[in-house]
């Protein structure tokens, strides 16, 4: 699973670039497609995740 915060950061960067710059339609479309795909993955992660619980057995400290 891609790190969620990285996913969101990239999305934010995409939106900002799309919003601020005078892009070629080609590039704008490419960014848009990437954004939509990342959004889809993020939504999927959010709605389908199930908490994984792992127990780490304590090891007595030598002291």
């Amino acid at each position: 699973m891609a790190e969620f915060s990285k996913q969101l950061e990239r999305l934010e960067a995409i939106v900002r670039r799309l919003e601020s710059e005078d892009l070629d339609l080609d590039e704008a479309l490419k960014l848009f497609e990437e954004g939509v795909e990342r959004l889809r993955v993020a939504r999927e992660q959010l709605s389908q995740a199930e908490l994984k619980v792992k127990k780490v057995l304590e090891i007595e400290s030598p002291s």
Partner: protein
């Protein structure tokens, strides 16, 4: 008593008591005559041995008593300090090996400066402050989207159940790493430190140290300077939720965030996925809007280009139009029809050849004559 202990009558050379017999007898007499009792006095010469046993004197203005408090009695207590006024519940006895009268202390209480606990707490806190460990600037921000969350708590307590439920509901994208620890009793301090130490070597984004409510003795481990220092040394942010809201432990003070309950700690550690989903919706809208704007720019540019194209075409067309008019005027002037209109006529033979000379027109020749509004048949009658 004096009558039964007639020591002089036993003072013959062969009848002398051994030292051991005296101390043993004295011990028996003391233990029979002085039942366990409460004694008040001031602590002096306090010393804690590595074995965990404490040795000190209790004194007042006129006298002093040697005291021992064994590890199994004192392990839950913060050590007192010299000069402190205390109450002890102790059994008077004889320490035979040294021939010393001493109190074996079973309970030790102090009302001085809020009592032993308060004093120990303040002492440890002062040490932590001195090392800058309680500086608010040390508090780290919690990660907004934690991937791995470690929990140090009792493996079968309500705290773990609460934390697991909250994280499972709010942020199931995370992995919960449970590091069980004893959270009360003699081994709690070492157990919590070892759990923290273990986590510090793992790749974990945030740590929750949790324990449900309890008495001041129950929470003792979380007021230990050692645990506080272990928390401060963690490479990642630590959220502490120890006891009830009213109990602030050293662990709470050192942690990056203090939560009132284990559930609150779990909430502080995680974002709410529903909120994040809503954020995703907003990002999606922004994306769509940004694309619309970006494409509108492009379309506008296209439109501008198109306009220019059309304008330049029009200009050119206008120019060619003018030229055409001029040309057609000239063409018009040259048109044979115009000539005919002026009264000329064209003579052509059957094959359509134009007859321009007299030689082409012998007498009797039938030919066609074109005038401005049509043709007629003609014949050469004479030269």
């Amino acid at each position: 008593m004096g009558a039964r202990l007639d020591l002089f009558s036993a003072a013959s050379a062969e009848g002398a008591w051994t030292v051991g017999e005296v101390t043993k007898r004295a011990r028996a007499v003391i233990e029979a005559g002085l039942p366990p009792l409460w004694v008040r006095g001031e602590i002096a010469g306090f010393k804690a041995w590595r074995s965990g046993h404490w040795y000190f004197s209790l004194r007042d203005k006129s006298a002093q008593l040697r005291c021992v408090m064994f590890a199994k009695q004192n392990f839950m207590l913060p050590p007192p300090s010299d000069g402190m006024q205390v109450f002890v519940f102790a059994r008077p006895s004889m320490y035979e090996e040294k021939g010393e009268f001493q109190l074996t202390v079973m309970e030790l209480l102090s009302t001085d400066q809020g009592g032993l606990w308060k004093l120990a707490f303040e002492k440890a806190k002062a040490a932590l402050i001195k090392d800058g460990l309680l500086d608010p600037a040390r508090k780290r921000r919690l990660p907004p989207f934690p991937r791995r969350i470690a929990v140090v708590t009792s493996p079968d307590g309500a705290a773990l159940r609460d934390i697991q439920a909250v994280i499972g509901r709010r942020w199931p994208l995370a992995e919960l790493i449970v590091v069980p620890a004893q959270v009360q009793g003699a081994k709690a301090e070492a157990s919590v430190c070892s759990a923290l130490n273990r986590i510090s070597r793992l790749s974990v984004d945030v740590v929750v140290v949790a324990r449900g409510g309890g008495s001041v003795e129950d929470l003792w481990a979380f007021n230990s300077e050692r645990v506080a220092r272990a928390v401060a040394a963690m490479p990642m942010p630590v959220i502490s939720a120890i006891g009830h809201e009213t109990d602030v432990t050293l662990c709470d003070l050192v942690a990056d965030l203090r939560a009132a309950t284990p559930s609150a700690a779990a909430e502080a550690a995680t974002p709410d996925r529903l909120e994040v989903l809503a954020q995703c919706g907003i990002v999606g809208q922004r994306l769509a809007r940004a694309l619309r704007i970006a494409s509108r720019h492009v379309v506008e540019r296209l439109d501008r280009t198109g306009d220019r194209l059309v304008r330049s075409m029009e200009t050119r067309l206008e120019k060619s139009g003018a030229l055409l008019t001029a040309h057609s005027a000239r063409l018009d002037a040259l048109s044979p029809l115009r000539v005919l209109a002026r009264g000329y006529a064209v003579a052509r033979d059957e094959q359509g050849r134009i007859l321009k000379q007299v030689a082409q027109l012998p007498v009797g020749l039938e030919f066609r004559l074109r005038v401005t509004d049509g043709e007629v048949q003609a014949r050469v009658e004479a030269k």
